[in-house]
């Protein structure tokens, strides 16, 4: 029985066209999400600059921005609002991308530089730097933060994969990371409490916040985040391959070790840079990277793009909330992210099977 050749061809062609349409629709949807998030960032930047606790009005701020006339509005604008907004945005990008990289590299949907102790390591190193070496500016804190972040990232990888292989799954790795974070936080707190005079500067620094960091904090963080992001973009294809498994990745010609090394470098730059400038802030990576996966699918390129835009959305929302939740005083933004992040972590845990092996 011979089917009509023309009919067969048009059936195949139709299927092919459907597949293309679905793919383009998927892409279109993703692009729509990205555009939405970008608009969100723009709006939030404006809100963050315009809104706050002082009694300066928006017309006054606008006037100071346009004409550059000195005065209260000018001071508030250029010494508080703009540095703070810039730092929040940069921190959002850095933490979200670091979280996405960690989740991809460790294949653990709960990975986050705050939970797994990378930020705590950077914070501990900076504490030692401030207290013992007497470093006192963001520029000097950066190398310390990098060393701390790098050491802990390596430790978490080494121990985490070991415990995951032995006991099973993401739980052990997460718990190992939490334990390391607890040890480092305890050590940091112990030092600050035991020798208050030496560590007085640290107390001011140690709560994660975007305000009061100095006008140039974000300038120092910016190159680290930029370089880290570039590295992250460069390894996205390899990360997609590594997600399939080590052997599959090798079969595809991807160097698993090389990807991991570059990934670790990127995480160190991103998390270390943000922590040096803003103090330790947790949960941003967890929330944004997780949502990125849900919304964009498993392709690391789309996830990264989403993280880069959605991260600042989260941090800016948190920062603006932090100004008003406790009116008239402010709470550190790290508390707000914990409030937001912990329930989301709970939801992830309770709904997901993959996590509890």
């Amino acid at each position: 029985m011979q089917s009509h050749p023309v009919a067969v061809t048009s059936l195949q062609a139709e299927r092919y066209r459907d597949a293309l349409r679905a793919r383009r629709a998927g892409t279109a949807l993703r692009v729509r999400f990205l555009v939405l998030a970008s608009i969100g960032v723009v709006i939030l930047v404006a809100v963050s600059i315009g809104v706050g606790q002082s009694s300066t009005t928006i017309p006054q701020l606008w006037d100071a921005l346009i004409t550059g006339r000195k005065g209260t509005a000018h001071t508030i604008l250029f010494e508080q609002r703009i540095p703070r907004t810039a730092l929040a945005a940069i921190a959002g990008v850095g933490l979200a991308i670091a979280g996405s990289l960690m989740q991809a590299l460790t294949r653990n949907p709960l990975a986050d530089p705050g939970i797994l102790g990378v930020n705590a390591g950077a914070a501990f190193a900076v504490t030692i730097g401030i207290g013992i070496l007497g470093l006192n500016s963001v520029a000097l804190w950066l190398p310390a933060a990098f060393i701390g972040a790098l050491l802990v990232t390596l430790l978490v990888f080494a121990l985490g994969t070991r415990s995951a292989a032995r006991n099973g799954g993401a739980v052990s790795m997460t718990l190992a990371g939490v334990a390391i974070a607890a040890v480092l936080q305890g050590a940091t707190q112990g030092l600050t409490l035991a020798a208050p005079k030496t560590f007085e500067a640290v107390r001011a620094w140690s709560a994660g916040t975007f305000v009061g960091r100095g006008v140039s904090a974000w300038l120092w963080a910016l190159p680290c985040i930029v370089i880290g992001t570039i590295i992250a973009i460069a390894i996205t294809r390899s990360l997609n391959a590594v997600a399939l498994g080590d052997e599959a990745a090798a079969a595809l010609g991807v160097s698993v070790t090389g990807t991991r090394v570059w990934g670790i470098v990127a995480i160190t730059l991103l998390a270390g840079g943000v922590t040096a400038a803003a103090g330790p802030i947790a949960f941003v990576g967890l929330i944004v990277a997780h949502v990125a996966r849900l919304v964009m699918g498993a392709d690391q390129r789309w996830c990264l793009a989403f993280c880069a835009v959605a991260g600042p959305v989260l941090t800016l929302v948190s920062d603006v909330s932090a100004r008003f939740v406790l009116w008239p005083s402010e709470i550190p933004v790290g508390i707000v992210t914990a409030f937001l992040g912990a329930p989301i972590l709970l939801v992830v845990v309770l709904r997901s099977r993959a996590v509890t092996e």
């Binding site: 709960l110 121990l159 070991r162 997460t174 190992a176 040890v183």
Partner: protein, 353 residues
């Protein structure tokens, strides 16, 4: 000794002494030796703790003070200043160790300890809230801690029991809840008046500094009452290990036993948190350390209590005297060493998960 019955039973290669028909328990020789050894070690460490400090005293002086034959000034230093602190350490450590053993038995997971699961943070938050709202008294802090710990326990167990209270889910739920409650705690402290906030924050660092005879009295009463309850629960708890159906068929009532055990465990955590603030990782590590020394099946409560007492007393001693010129709180020392222990347990230890 007429009512006690001493008989040796050889059961499966382990030698046991059956003591007192009333309690229906058989105590393993090695476990007994472990308990005695740990208690002796604790007493020694406590004694050393009484000797060291701003005024260095010799062992003879301390002994005289304890037996009431010393001079007024030495008496003051030892009995009024240092003894409540050392006694507090021992009792708190014992209660934390017992609580950890209870929870690890119920969850059948060596990681199922109150500090990881978030009960301690819940008790901490409850205490802080009570201090801020009701005033800075011992009673309000203790009451708040009790309520906070119980509520947190209920919520966590409820949340994780939908999928079965499996180890992984329980622990991750605990981590998330701990993070949230911690943030809430920081928020409360930031909101309160400065003096109240300072008191709450000082209490929260897990310190033995504030121990005095009142707190020790509270601890002793709690320890005795709940400890007796523990003794009666020990055998039914061990039976739970067999699984609910087998336990029921041998006459235990698993639901009731579990509820009672959780209540006692939470009470231990709440009272210790109320008195000294949260002290991390003792409830996690003490039962496991005791189990390894005693090589016992399951996690027995009494050795865990003895190990906990030793750990806290030693941690206090170390925190005060290890680095000259720096004083670390007990909570800090246990976090650092307990955290390292946890990492070791996850990554290098042999044995069941």
């Amino acid at each position: 000794m007429s009512t006690a019955e001493l008989s040796r039973e050889i059961r499966g290669g382990r030698r046991r002494i059956r003591v007192r028909r009333i309690l229906h328990t058989a105590i393993d020789v090695r476990t007994l030796v472990t308990i005695v050894g740990l208690v002796l070690a604790t007493l020694v460490v406590g004694f050393i703790s009484l000797m060291l400090g701003d005024t260095m005293l010799g062992p003879g002086d301390v002994w005289d003070a304890l037996t009431g034959r010393a001079m007024q000034s030495i008496n003051f230093v030892v009995i009024e200043l240092r003894l409540p602190r050392v006694l507090g350490c021992m009792l708190i450590g014992g209660m934390l160790g017992a609580s950890g053993a209870i929870f690890q038995t119920i969850t059948r997971n060596p990681l199922g300890s109150p500090d990881i699961l978030g009960f301690s943070t819940g008790a901490h938050l409850g205490g802080t809230a009570a201090i801020v709202v009701f005033g800075t008294t011992m009673v309000s802090a203790a009451g708040g801690a009790l309520v906070g710990g119980t509520l947190t326990a209920a919520v966590i167990l409820l949340l994780s029991s939908r999928g079965g209270a499996k180890g992984g889910r329980l622990i991750l739920t605990g981590i998330a809840v701990t993070a949230m409650l911690s943030a809430a705690n920081s928020w409360l402290i930031l909101r309160a008046d400065l003096t109240i906030a300072q008191i709450a924050a000082a209490w929260g660092a897990g310190s033995m500094v504030g121990q005095n005879s009142d707190t020790v009295r509270l601890l002793v009463i709690t320890a005795v009452v709940l400890g007796v309850a523990c003794v009666f629960l020990a055998r039914p708890l061990a039976q739970l290990d067999l699984g609910d159906e087998r336990a029921a068929s041998t006459g235990a009532r698993p639901r009731l036993v579990r509820v009672l055990a959780i209540a006692i465990g939470v009470a231990f955590v709440a009272i210790t948190t109320a008195v000294a603030g949260p002290i991390a990782f003792v409830a996690l590590s003490a039962p496991q350390i005791a189990r390894r020394i005693a090589r016992a099946p399951g996690t027995p409560v009494a050795p865990a209590a003895a190990a906990g007492a030793l750990i806290v007393t030693a941690a206090d001693l170390a925190g005060q005297n290890l680095i000259p010129g720096m004083q670390f709180q007990v909570g800090i020392v246990t976090v650092i060493f307990g955290g390292l222990y946890l990492v070791w347990l996850l990554c290098f230890a042999k044995g069941k998960k």
